[in-house]
């Protein structure tokens, strides 16, 4: 076994030193009838070649997004990641390090986290960000829990234009506590009357920008109304690249901003691992969940970084902790931060502009097709089309032509007939002119 350094001789010598003759004497506390006397019924160990063959077989039965005109978004976006990012992630010093609880020998991870926190706070227009959560959806649920802690109220109003799986996660996470979550129906038009729902009992309002259907919103007025009731405005961002083009939630008055950071550095990965972004304002820092890295000095007076404010966390505070979370998305924060550092503000803005321009171009083109109606007044890099046929059928039809046309909204809203003809189309910088033409042509054919 290539990964197990002990030789049979080593094992004998070590057992002798310990003073036993057989390894099972060390398992003496296991009930005798529960100690297996043979390997379980699974294949024996495999060579590298065999493992590679197996995984090439798994991989070979999937269609990579990069090998087709590809337009699915809906909370996970295919962006180009510079080769430098992945090289750096693979360095053993980052890849195989533990959580930086021993700061003297973890400054690499810690300084990168400090930079990450600053970047996230800036992108969101907020004071501070944590060192990341599992992903955007769980971060959204944590935001609702945090709003309850801050406001000591337990009713959350959830926009109907929030990503439906995010809604499910919030519902699930708060199901067994005293929270009340009011979830609005999907707001296709981009207009949703939230202000009128705000009352003295609410802890927060949760909205998304760009919303699930791609519409853009200015939440400034909503924020004012929420604050009037001493509640918090939680803004969710599932496409962080949008913030290179549009006003930040912080500028609109958000109190908590959470997001999915997958777009930068991380890749698609069939849904995970991703990286949850979480930012808030200074006054709420001690109610924030998750890890935090802070600046300090060492015994020689040199600047250094440490994990801090851990009295909020489960390993110290146990059942009173701000969350049960005890990891972050460490390596994904690094991917995010390196990609962001390579882009810089200029590159980030250009990337966003490029996404928007491509999406605009495609939206115009597709709108020309008979049987296609663009629902969005505004959008960033994703928009919703109403087709003259059920979108799920059209998507399956286009798969046969090698085009992945987008997400039929019905997949996430089964049983809602009103939504059956809606197709959500995302366009990033990785989409070429040829890809767009392929979609245009095939969609036109399919709707004939």
């Amino acid at each position: 076994m290539r990964y197990l350094p002990l030789t049979p001789d080593d094992r004998q010598a070590m057992l002798a030193k310990i003073g036993v003759t057989h390894i099972d004497e060390l398992f003496r506390d296991v009930p005798a009838d529960a100690l297996l006397d043979a390997p379980v019924d699974l294949p024996r160990h495999a060579t590298e070649m065999e493992v590679e063959a197996a995984f090439k077989s798994f991989a070979g039965r999937n269609l990579p997004a990069g090998e087709a005109p590809f337009f699915v978004g809906a909370g996970a976006y295919r962006h180009h990641v510079p080769a430098t990012v992945d090289y750096m992630l693979q360095r053993g010093e980052f890849l195989t390090a533990y959580t930086p609880y021993q700061p003297e020998i973890s400054q690499g991870t810690l300084q990168a986290l400090f930079e990450f926190q600053t970047q996230v706070a800036q992108i969101f227009g907020m004071d501070v960000a944590n060192a990341s959560m599992y992903d955007g959806s769980t971060a959204a649920a944590e935001a609702v829990l945090m709003a309850r802690r801050v406001t000591r109220k337990n009713k959350a109003i959830i926009s109907g234009s929030l990503h439906p799986q995010y809604i499910e996660v919030i519902r699930c996470t708060t199901a067994f506590t005293e929270d009340v979550t009011v979830v609005n129906p999907p707001a296709l038009s981009g207009v949703e009357e939230l202000i009128s729902q705000i009352d003295d009992d609410i802890s927060c309002v949760v909205v998304q920008n760009p919303d699930f259907f791609g519409n853009l919103h200015d939440f400034t007025k909503l924020a004012e109304a929420v604050h009037e009731k001493k509640a918090l405005l939680v803004v969710v961002v599932t496409e962080v690249v949008s913030l290179g083009a549009i006003k930040s939630p912080g500028e609109m008055g958000a109190d908590i901003v959470v997001g999915e950071g997958q777009s930068l550095g991380v890749g698609l990965n069939f849904g995970g691992p991703y990286v949850g972004l979480f930012a808030t304002n200074q006054k709420y820092v001690r109610q924030m969940p998750g890890r935090l890295c802070g600046e300090t000095r060492d015994a020689d007076g040199k600047r250094g970084f440490v994990l801090t404010l851990s009295t909020r966390e489960q390993h110290i505070r146990r059942e009173k902790a701000t969350s049960n979370i005890c990891t972050n998305a460490g390596l994904c924060t690094l991917a995010f931060s390196i990609h962001m550092t390579l882009l810089g503000e200029a590159g980030f803005r250009k990337l966003a502009a490029l996404n928007h321009a491509r999406a605009s171009e495609l939206a115009d083109k597709l709108s020309d097709i008979d049987g296609v109606e663009l629902l969005n007044e505004s959008f960033f890099n994703e928009f919703t089309l109403r087709l003259s046929k059920p979108a799920a059928e059209v998507v399956e039809q286009l798969v046969e032509q090698g085009v992945i046309a987008g997400l039929p909204v019905s997949r996430l809203y089964p049983g809602n007939e009103e939504l059956d003809n809606l197709l959500l189309v995302a366009v990033t910088e990785t989409v070429s002119e040829n890809d767009m033409y392929a979609l245009y042509y095939e969609l036109k054919e399919a709707l004939k």
């Binding site: 990964y3 030193k17 310990i18 036993v20 009838d33 297996l36 294949p43 991989a59 269609l63 809906a74 996970a76 510079p82 430098t84 992945d86 750096m88 053993g92 010093e93 195989t96 390090a97 533990y98 959580t99 973890s106 300084q111 930079e115 970047q119 706070a121 959806s137 996660v169 506590t177 853009l216 913030l243 698609l268 069939f270 849904g271 995970g272 691992p273 890295c293 300090t296 060492d298 015994a299 020689d300 250094g304 801090t308 902790a321 049960n324 990891t327 972050n328 390596l331 390196i338 882009l343 810089g344 503000e345 200029a346 590159g347 990337l351 490029l354 928007h356 171009e361 939206a363 996430l412």
Partner: protein, 487 residues
């Protein structure tokens, strides 16, 4: 040369990425264009390469040496797994692309599920939890959903004093109150005390086995029986599964659910704090309540069920399907070891820990008698009178070239030092470590206190002021005041 922050190196005009020119076109941003400067610094690619390379070199890592962190299972991370995770057919697929185009991915998930079920002897598994603590939450939510379906309102969860902090935190998220069960002299759950604590208000017990003292709970089956007899469920914290994988199936012990840290037992990289993955295996009793989504193998193809029609599922824990990238790595690790190799993993991890325990027990003070499982627990009695604390001792290990062991956990012994070598250390490596530890004990007892209280001396940083960091938190870079900047 100290490494500056990106904010001190770059500026907002520089970019290390080339992008195509942006075609003209009218904006659809609805008047929401971002006009103010964000302040994000850019670095050219050569500058970025140096910055992160230099930062990385300030880290300790498994690739550099022994990482005896008890309870964390810091084992070798094979690069084969990284290579597999980067195959385009696995890395470059979207969670919501048509199911007909990701049948291989579903097969992979289903195969991993089969391995996990077989290794644990449990009939069902939830794949989506994102990390160990998320898996705990998943397990406890299933328990709560099952009790709710039974129409029973139980409010208490039992957990030993030595439990991980995530256990009570998780129970609280499910609306439960945690009650501690005491331990016996020999570091295990007190069965009699447990039986007395059980009652109609108890929803579940949360137990780590092997426990956080590195010991196997001898009475595990009696515990399970008693719990079940009281109408409660048995949640097992699988953090220490590495000690028994392939040797003992939790399903045979009466466990109702258990999370599995893929980043511990199955070697997905820790990555400086994540991402992890925490699938949860379930007994028949809890299987109906698993969260969405899950893969179902049909005759001709796989289906990912994203909406539960039975009404029993307690819901969805995360958008999309879970930590696919970690599934790939873990399955690659498992297939590489096979049933025979995984069994050897458990045996070697236990052997290595006992070898350390035996080789150090004359100079350090093991907290409990008898063989340990995959980690060796010492307390600070051996340091008595030396003026050296557990923390100092651990920091001095850095100067010897090691990462410190886990300190002050579990809380049940004084000045705990929990050492987990894992099975991927060679005897040569263990002997060197033992030699270093004996040397340090000798120095501690011979009055060489400065070596400890000032440690580390040979690290990228000396000891850091964590108190000030927490009192006056500086959690982000701030632009220096203009006055300063002009200086």
């Amino acid at each position: 040369q100290e490494e500056l922050l990106i904010y001190e190196i770059g500026d907002t005009k520089t970019s290390g990425v080339d992008l195509p020119e942006v075609p003209e076109g009218h904006s659809r941003l609805g008047g929401l264009a971002r006009t103010n400067e964000i302040g994000l610094p850019g670095l050219s690619e050569p500058e970025a390469m140096r910055h992160y390379t230099r930062l990385s070199r300030q880290n300790y890592a498994i690739d550099m040496g022994l990482y005896p962190l008890g309870s964390c299972t810091m084992k070798h991370n094979p690069r084969l797994n990284e290579k597999m995770a980067r195959l385009a057919g696995l890395a470059d697929i979207h969670p919501l692309q048509p199911q007909s185009t990701v049948q291989g991915a579903f097969d992979l998930i289903d195969t991993l599920a089969h391995w996990l079920k077989t290794l644990t002897g449990m009939p069902a598994v939830a794949m989506s939890p994102k990390a160990g603590a998320h898996g705990e939450l998943c397990g406890m939510m299933a328990i709560r959903a099952a009790l709710d379906k039974r129409g029973e309102e139980r409010t208490i969860v039992l957990a030993p004093e030595s439990a991980h902090g995530t256990n009570p935190a998780t129970a609280a998220l499910c609306g439960y109150t945690v009650k501690a069960i005491p331990a016996t002299e020999d570091g295990r759950v007190d069965l009699e005390a447990l039986k007395q604590a059980l009652g109609p208000d108890v929803a579940a017990i949360m137990l780590t086995n092997p426990n956080t003292c590195g010991l196997f709970e001898r009475d595990i089956k009696e515990i399970a029986d008693a719990v079940h007899a009281a109408g409660a469920y048995f949640y097992c914290d699988g953090a220490n599964f590495n000690a028994i994988v392939g040797k003992v199936r939790p399903g045979d012990l009466g466990v109702d659910c258990m999370h599995i840290n893929l980043h511990k037992t199955f070697s997905t990289p820790h990555g400086g704090g994540g991402p992890g993955a925490g699938p949860v295996v379930f007994s028949e009793a809890l299987a109906p309540f698993v969260p969405t989504p899950y893969v179902v193998a049909g005759e001709e193809e796989y289906t990912m069920v994203e909406h539960d029609d039975t009404g029993d599922s307690f819901g969805r824990m995360t958008a999309f399907h879970g930590q696919m990238g970690m599934f790939t790595r873990a399955l690659s690790y498992m297939m590489s070891h096979g049933a025979d190799g995984l069994r050897q993993v458990a045996e070697d991890s236990v052997l290595n820990a006992n070898y350390i325990m035996t080789s150090l027990k004359d100079v350090m003070t093991p907290s409990f008698e008898g063989p340990c499982m995959h980690e060796a627990l010492f307390d600070d009695r051996f340091l008595k009178g030396s003026g050296v604390e557990t923390l100092d001792f651990a920091k001095a290990m850095i100067d010897e070239g090691y990462h410190p062991m886990t300190m002050y956990f579990p809380l049940v012994v004084h000045g705990a030092m929990l050492i987990e070598p894992t099975e991927t250390e060679s005897k040569q490596s263990l002997d060197q470590f033992i030699g270093s530890m004996r040397h340090l004990v000798d120095k501690a007892l011979s009055g060489d206190g400065d070596r400890f209280t000032g440690a580390p001396y040979h690290a990228p940083r000396r000891r850091l002021d964590e108190t000030t960091a927490a009192r006056k938190p500086v959690l982000r870079w701030q632009k220096p005041e203009p006055a300063q900047a002009a200086e």
